[in-house]
């Protein structure tokens, strides 16, 4: 029996049941045990393990896309396929790959979640050292810790109250909020989100400054680039597009299929978009895709001499 075809998985326990919590605890213990064992392995053994797991993980996705997928429903003679019975080895493997996808995707999501833990650990390590050793600018680290702790406490209490307490659905509306919801709103919407938006809006200043200082018509190429940019900018300005198109529409023949109709701003932008912009982006994307494929192959086969594979 294939692992991925198991109907009831090891984890299929009732939500919040003690059996599930026990299994989660066991998994954490086993996980820490494996991590500790890996740390104790000699560097060569560790590398072999990492290379092996990387190859297997990559192999799954290669097979997922390239292995023939099982045909649903019918045998070669047209009769219905017996439930769960593959016709040959190729189809058996095809079924296995298909069935394993939820498990592999869960692994991918869980591993990606570890990045958050890694980030928190890294922040605590770097800024904790700075704070306790009173290194330059340690005050900023103190503010960071204060903000992080406040956000975590308020965030979790709010999360618990809005999901696990009686009448929690009412807490969606501000009129029913308690002090924790107001605190969460202040920290999340009032501070974090606004600072995020403020940081992003700074880009506008850089764009203006850079365009003013760097955009000079020094060559034919720069002139073409500037003219094209101007047309694209004008096409984004409704009032300019409206006036331009109106002016063109008054040229005899423009609205009845005459050549002048091609000079409306909408038509010029469409021509640039379809004949210059899109092909150029497709070309760039194609190059990026080939680069990503090459890099993916190098990572999959552990040919990159950096990171964990170099351990």
């Amino acid at each position: 029996m294939l692992f991925a075809q198991v109907e009831k998985t090891f984890w299929a326990e009732g939500s919040g049941s003690s059996a599930l919590w026990l299994k989660i605890l066991m998994a954490v213990v086993v996980g820490f045990g494996l991590t500790f064992a890996m740390l104790k392995l000699p560097a060569r053994g560790r590398r072999t393990l990492v290379v092996g797991i990387t190859f297997l993980a990559g192999l799954y996705w290669v097979l997922y896309y390239l292995w023939p997928q099982p045909l649903p429903g019918r045998l070669a003679n047209g009769s219905p396929l017996p439930h769960g019975q593959p016709r040959d080895l190729v189809e058996s493997v095809g079924f296995w790959i298909k069935d394993a996808q939820p498990v592999v995707s869960d692994f991918a999501n869980i591993l990606s979640s570890f990045l958050l833990g890694l980030g928190v650990f890294s922040i605590i390590r770097i800024h904790g050292r700075k704070l306790f050793r009173r290194q330059p600018d340690w005050g900023f680290s103190a503010v960071l810790f204060l903000a992080m702790i406040a956000m975590v406490i308020v965030g979790y209490v709010n999360y618990y109250q809005t999901r696990y307490t009686p009448g929690s659905s009412k807490l969606e509306l501000p009129s029913n909020w308690g002090s924790w919801q107001f605190a969460n709103d202040l920290l999340f919407n009032g501070l974090l989100q606004q600072m995020d938006a403020a940081m992003f809006s700074v880009i506008a200043f850089y764009i203006l400054s850079a365009a003013y200082r760097a955009f000079r018509i020094r060559s034919v190429e720069a002139t073409i680039l500037l003219s094209t940019a101007l047309i694209v900018i004008f096409s984004l300005m409704g009032i300019v597009a409206y006036e331009w198109n109106n002016a063109v529409a008054h040229i005899p023949g423009a609205t009845t299929g005459g050549i002048a109709g091609n000079f409306s701003l909408t038509e010029i932008y469409k021509w640039i978009n379809q004949n210059v912009q899109t092909p150029a982006i497709r070309g760039i994307d194609f190059g990026v895709g080939i680069g990503a494929l090459a890099m993916g192959l190098r990572l999959w086969l552990s040919l990159e001499r950096g990171g964990a594979s170099a351990a």
């Binding site: 997922y64 996808q101 995707s105 991918a108 995020d196 018509i217």
Partner: protein
């Protein structure tokens, strides 16, 4: 190499090329903030891509379910926030159920939830029905790995969303799959459409994994992402596209033509004049710099 004497007065050309940064920034602040205080009507002709997206949404049958990818936060709210508002208002008015998921940013689910609640209350205030969580929409939360999640949604949405829970009207938690929104969803094509509102590269991930599988796709992206996403609209992998602030205003303009007498205009109409002033300033700044360069060259010749 000889360095210019700092005591030598600058020529007009040099002055025009080296306006103080602070002055430029001050003008930008004025140009972008003053129009917000005035209601300036701007004529607008929606793009074909926005029309296609609106028509696709408008033709969805009432009671059907769509999947909404919400990969935006407040940092791009001027564009994606307006797009999300327009999308949710259309879905509410058409009676279409929706499930919201996120693959880009852990902050995004809370931003989306708050926005939906606010929009629902606003619709009710203006005589609309609004939406009720669980019965009309569900929040599926955050998925840390966009690629794996998109693949799984394509293969089996019940597995992708099987572990997700949401709050019922009575305040208890229930499996999102048992909600009226998702109870009839068994395969990808049971969703009538997927609309992704994003300020990140999850657009590419979604198109790569979900296009060509029988599910109509619509994208609502930032202006910066517009050209690269338009490539997929041109190749007919997308059923419609709304890009940037112009896209928001396009959607609002189209809504105004369909949902008469309701609240149709929001961020698009409010911010579009600001975009005009900002772009005009950009053009003027580039012209000033180039005029300065030409004057300097003539002076040296």
């Amino acid at each position: 190499m000889a360095t210019p004497d700092p005591t030598t007065p600058k020529s007009l050309g040099e002055k025009l090329q080296s306006l103080p940064r602070g002055i430029l920034y001050l003008i930008l602040v004025i140009c972008t903030s003053v129009p917000l205080f005035f209601n300036i009507p701007v004529p607008n002709e929606p793009t074909q891509a926005a029309k296609d997206l609106f028509n696709a949404l408008n033709s969805l049958p009432a009671g059907s379910t769509v999947l909404v990818g919400s990969d935006w936060t407040v940092s791009t709210r001027g564009e994606t926030g307006g797009e999300f508002d327009a999308l949710i208002r259309i879905l509410m008015r058409k009676g279409i159920k929706f499930a919201v998921y996120t693959t880009a940013d852990p902050q995004a689910p809370e931003v989306a939830r708050d926005e939906i609640v606010m929009l629902s209350e606003d619709e009710k205030k203006h005589g609309g029905k609004g939406v009720e969580r669980w019965n009309d929409w569900v929040s599926l939360g955050f998925f840390p790995n966009a690629e794996a999640t998109a693949n799984l949604i394509a293969a089996d949405p019940t597995k992708a969303f099987g572990s997700k829970k949401d709050v019922k009207p009575d305040g208890t938690l229930g499996s999102a799959l048992s909600s009226p929104v998702l109870k009839d969803i068994k395969t990808l094509t049971d969703f009538k459409m997927l609309i992704l509102v994003t300020g990140t590269q999850t657009s590419t991930v979604t198109i790569e994994r979900l296009s060509g599988k029988g599910l109509p796709l619509g994208m609502m992206v930032t202006g910066v992402m517009g050209p690269e996403t338009a490539v997929y609209y041109d190749s007919r992998q997308l059923n419609g596209l709304c890009a940037g602030l112009k896209g928001v205003y396009d959607m609002e303009t189209l809504m105004d033509g369909t949902f008469k007498g309701q609240v149709n205009f929001g961020r698009g109409k409010l911010y579009y004049p600001t975009l005009h002033f900002a772009l005009a300033l950009l053009i003027v700044a580039v012209i000033v710099g180039n005029v300065g360069m030409m004057i300097s060259r003539k002076g040296k010749a």
